[in-house]
């Protein structure tokens, strides 16, 4: 009896009868992964025209990326904004999650809902609204202004991740620590935080990526000397397709992947 005729699950349906499902699932996964991955080899193509697989390999697009002051400036801006966003969103979001989780008050749920709303409001509205307000506050085209707006977008992620970690954490440990002489703050720093640090780190990484990848608000709020990588890329895509973008894209994929992989590995080693 080949593998095809064996049952695949509790309903005893065979693999053969499910072949169509496997085919579609594989197709969907390819659909999802192909665009993400195709950019990487393209960035190493020596040719200016699109060809796959590349006939000749070259690093010229990376060279062009690094040599361009415009792109480099934009990259630096994006990294700075992302770092600021990570710091601000993680601190504010973690404090809020902890405070709301521990207080157990009725309106804590309401406040939690409010902190989650940035996910559901159409970004374009936030973008033009913030643009309007920043013009008045002279925060337009500043790193701080953009980082604040991106932090607002990242706070729901931080709140979700940290609240989930707090739920599976044994709060009794904090109580014991307090009974043994630690003030609330010391108990949090010495006992609770070390045990939710994986979640806090994940939240920081997600906030960093939110700031790094954000497009719409950056289009309206960053500019001049403080244009972000995303803004410049967006404008470049509307015009001519410069293969340098392939190199930039690969770098961005590398940044995201490395950060997320590091978080996963860090989490796994902690669990042993």
């Amino acid at each position: 009896m080949s593998w095809l005729d064996r049952p695949a699950g509790d309903t005893q349906i065979t693999h053969r009868a499910r072949l169509w499902l496997y085919a579609i699932a594989v197709a969907v996964l390819v659909f999802l992964l192909l665009p993400t991955l195709i950019v990487i080899p393209m960035s190493f193509s020596a040719s200016q025209f699109l060809e796959f697989p590349p006939h000749h390999w070259s690093l010229r697009w990376y060279a062009s990326y690094v040599a361009s002051p415009g792109w480099m400036q934009a990259t630096a801006t994006s990294l700075k904004v992302a770092a600021l966003t990570a710091v601000v969103a993680t601190m504010l979001g973690t404090a809020a999650s902890y405070g709301l989780f521990v207080s157990g008050l009725r309106w804590a749920r309401l406040v939690l809902m409010l902190l989650l709303t940035p996910i559901m409001v159409p970004v374009i509205l936030v973008a033009i609204g913030v643009f309007y307000v920043y013009v008045k506050l002279k925060l337009l085209n500043t790193l701080a202004g953009l980082a604040l707006a991106d932090s607002m977008l990242a706070i729901p992620l931080v709140v979700l991740v940290v609240t989930s970690a707090l739920r599976s954490y044994d709060m009794n440990q904090e109580l014991v620590a307090r009974s043994l002489g630690a003030s609330r703050l010391r108990a949090f720093l010495l006992v609770t935080l070390p045990q939710i640090r994986f979640a806090v780190l994940t939240a920081a990484v997600l906030s960093f990526l939110t700031g790094f990848d954000e497009v719409v608000i950056a289009l309206f709020v960053s500019g001049g000397g403080n244009a972000t990588l995303t803004r410049d890329m967006f404008n470049a895509l509307r015009d001519q397709i410069d293969p340098t973008i392939a190199a930039i894209s690969t770098v961005m994929i590398a940044v995201s992947s490395i950060l997320l992989a590091a978080v996963q590995l860090f989490g796994r080693s902690r669990r042993d």
Binding site: D170, N172, L175, A177, R178, S179, G181, A182, S183, R186
Partner: protein, 362 residues
């Protein structure tokens, strides 16, 4: 018990309400310096709430709590200087055993050398001398409980609070730890308040037991008194297993099923009364025994072998069901009537106890 190793606890008018539910209702309690007091009650009775109020984790609506002469009801938990053991131990998994135990000493800025000495001594006291470097995940349940204890006593607190400390252990370990805990208390001398729902535990370990129901203390007495002279039906039912027989009072006499009962003391006025009958105090007698008093007649509904004892379910002539507990030793078993047979039970006068019949309906 040196007086400076322990403090008395005075609880006055402590009330805690959650909406319409009164978890604690004007509770008054005086715990003597150095005594081992158990708060005993069913779940939801408020016993854990009271312990949490003593520790400072639950803020009462009003009330006074004094440790010795000092009012502490408004003091935060980290300033109350009490040791506490939680039901699930709550050890810090990211610290070693020694790290856990040293934690309260760190909070008190004890010098490193003195800290190491005290930690070693605490480990010795709970018989875990070589375990300092182990990680919490490597310990068994019983070992974790002892580390939790060591952590709670290493800074020599004068009050120790324990929330169902033995409930997570299996039966063998639990019986052994009951004795060990009591020994620890006797050696160290601090005032100990322990919460449990297990009445055997309460009776074994305590100097006094406070039985709590729905936020009120129903009786506060030594274990023997609680068991043999319960103050009301709740305590009588919660501690030990009993049957309650309604009796009639006419003139100066108490009757059950027409028969006049010989009692240890007469109740005088008051009533109606219930006769509390403990299963192990009933004797099975033959009808012709002349020295047997207070005879109850019925037949055996069921016979249950329970290892160390035998439990008979007997139905009396008027339909009341009474449990009877006897030895399962072979000699004793020979004379036990079988299922369906008639049986006569006798209760000695000194084993009789009358309770006020608080409700007319059961």
């Amino acid at each position: 018990m040196a007086p400076d190793r322990s403090l008395p606890i005075t609880v006055r008018q402590v009330t805690k309400a959650y909406g319409a539910l009164r978890a604690l209702d004007q509770v008054d309690l005086a715990v003597r310096s150095g005594e081992f007091l158990t708060l005993l009650g069913p779940s939801g009775s408020g016993k854990t709430t009271l312990l949490m109020v003593l520790a400072g984790f639950v803020r009462p609506d009003h009330g006074s709590i004094r440790f010795g002469d000092v009012e502490v009801v408004r003091a935060p938990p980290h300033r109350r200087d009490v040791g506490m053991v939680f039901q699930n131990y709550a050890l810090f998994p990211h610290m070693s055993v020694a790290g856990n135990i040293a934690f309260p000493l760190r909070m008190r800025h004890v010098a490193k050398a003195a800290m190491e000495a005290k930690v070693a001594q605490a480990l010795e006291t709970v018989q875990l001398a070589a375990f300092g470097t182990r990680r919490v995940s490597e310990l068994s349940g019983g070992q974790r409980q002892r580390v939790a204890l060591a952590r709670a006593i290493v800074f020599e607190p004068r009050i120790l609070l324990m929330d169902e400390p033995l409930s997570a252990l299996d039966k063998q370990l639990r019986d052994r730890m009951q004795i060990e805990l009591r020994n620890l208390h006797d050696r160290l001398g601090m005032t100990t308040v322990c919460v449990t729902h297990d009445q055997r535990e309460a009776l074994t370990m305590s100097d006094r037991v406070a039985v709590i129901d729905r936020g009120r203390i129903r009786q506060l007495d030594a274990p023997r008194t609680i068991y043999e002279r319960p103050a009301n039906r709740f305590v009588a039912e919660f501690v030990g297993e009993s049957a309650f027989l309604p009796v009639e009072q006419s003139g100066g006499e108490i009757r059950f099923a027409g028969q006049v009962l010989k009692l240890a003391d007469h109740p005088g006025s008051g009533g109606p009364w219930l006769l509390m009958v403990r299963p192990e105090r009933l004797r099975i007698v033959t009808d012709t025994a002349t020295d047997a008093t207070n005879l109850l007649r019925g037949h055996v509904l069921a016979l249950v072998y329970q290892g160390e004892s035998l439990l008979l379910h007997v139905e009396l002539a008027d339909g009341t069901r009474v449990p009877v507990r006897g030895s399962s030793a072979r000699g004793a078993m020979a004379s036990v009537p079988q299922q369906g047979e008639a049986v006569t039970l006798s209760l000695a006068p000194e084993d009789t106890f009358l309770l006020p019949n608080e409700t007319s309906a059961p």
